[in-house]
Symmetry: none
Subunit: 259 residues, 2 copies
DNA sequence: TCAAAAACGATCAAAATCAATCGCAAACGA
DNA sequence: TCGTTTGCGATTGATTTTGATCGTTTTTGA
């Protein structure tokens, strides 16, 4: 076996793979093999590692960047996942909205269901960082105020420090927040720190924080933490939520509504 | 069976199908097969997947878009008015954009044409108050930063005092501004004071202000005034612009480019 | 209404890709 | 120096993707 004179160290190689995939949005195993001059087995092993680290997503024939559009938006993908539960959760949330209120919706598929229910409610004021929700209500419905900020493609939301510039100037009666993970010990988490930051700011500006999360989210933990259970006034979930989870939450002073 | 030397990865191919269908509104299986150089079976399988994901709707012979309905409906009327002129103006504007720049686009159909040209330019940073532009670039292209603010339904833009919260924290190299009316004596005007306010703020934050306006806008006056000719560095218009108008503008120090 | 043409879905085989396993060589620590 | 660990390449059988074929369904036009 003839090895390259100065083979790149494994981490270097993996870093190169990562940037190649990020820049191109996609790379095939064969191309990576040729440009890095190693065997396909090595490329595959590297991709496996990178995937575990969440830096790329493997597909048949290569890998795609987790930041590119090719990585199907988690969000769009999951819209259909347990859609009936999400619909019911949204309907339960809708009933809590009183006339002329100002409310906030963050990104996520559950809150999008709620947004759809607001089409006839021209009495409300809606603040949101969700591009999809804004599109949904672009023609009719509540007065819509967008938070602004950097567009995060995967979730189609506006996130980051710039959002707080707008958020600090408004106040909402109720904030309906979707989340990626909710865990009794680790609190509320989502995948992106910027997303978490925006959620955090809202939690502080809202009269009441109402968490919308189907039972799949229970005990899930993601990367970036936001808020905690103390800041949540009410959780709306579905009947599949583990009884124990409900019980412990109530003990901690969080109301729980199962739709 | 002879396979393509470097076939695109499946997600790439599906993404291409998706955008083709979104842009054209519809696509036939046969057309997709020809432009992607795969068999109809593959196209059908892809369409099946895309349909499950809710991105297209299959019909006999091909598929239609589920995503572009709003875009078309709201903007169709205005967009098609002197569309060729607007397209050329946008292309002329595009040529002025240099690598890695930060640019601003306000609402309006001309700027929307420009936004469409930016899909491949991931080097840029785009700041905009146009919901349509954001939708156009929601999947790929520049880094997108939305100004936030109240959504004005008629124009599908974010306007009002809240926009300045974000705008004051960013700075753009070039601001490409559409306008409703431009008049030598009354300056630049638009229909809504809030819209005008946002335009005003941007004009002050931008390195260069480049006005995009087809000749129909000449000597039109609307209700709300913003900026004035002194703040405009360049006007891009079409050849139907009255010669006198051009001449007087140049005399006042505004460069004029007729595409 | 009927028949031809087009499009479709199901099925199968070829090709590409993948995962698992082995052995080799260099690096490492005692 | 010797045994161990680590990273890599090669091989092989399994899996996935793709293209072709064929019978069925839908559309179209007389």
């Amino acid at each position: 076996m003839i090895r390259e004179a100065h083979p790149a160290l494994a981490p270097q190689r993996r870093e190169k793979i990562r940037t190649m995939i990020r820049d191109g949005g996609v790379a095939r195993v064969e191309d990576l093999r040729k440009s890095l001059k190693v065997s396909v087995a090595t490329i595959r092993r590297d991709l496996e590692i990178l995937e575990e680290e969440g830096k790329v997503r493997r597909v048949h024939g290569g890998a795609v960047s987790t930041e590119s559009r090719l990585e199907e938006a988690v969000f769009e993908n999951k819209t259909h996942l347990s859609a009936p539960e999400k619909q019911r959760i949204a309907e339960a949330a809708y009933k809590l909205i009183e006339p002329d209120e100002a409310i906030y919706l963050n990104g996520g598929s559950t809150t999008l269901f709620l947004a759809r229910l607001l089409r006839e409610r021209s009495d409300l004021t809606l603040v949101t960082n969700s591009l999809q929700a804004a599109i949904e209500l672009a023609d009719s419905g509540p007065r819509v105020i967008l938070t602004g900020g950097e567009l995060r493609r995967i979730s189609q939301t506006m996130v980051g420090p710039l959002t707080s510039a707008v958020l600090e100037q408004v106040r909402v009666d109720k904030a309906f927040m979707g989340t990626m993970g909710m865990c009794l010990t680790n609190g509320l988490t989502t995948t992106d720190p910027n997303e978490a930051y925006s959620n955090d700011v809202v939690s502080k500006q809202a009269g009441k924080v109402i968490l919308l999360a189907d039972s799949n989210k229970a005990e899930k933990v993601c990367f970036a933490r936001f808020g905690d259970w103390n800041s949540v006034d009410l959780l709306i979930s579905d009947k599949k939520l583990p009884q124990n989870f409900t019980k412990l939450l109530r003990k901690r002073g969080v109301k729980v509504l199962l739709s």
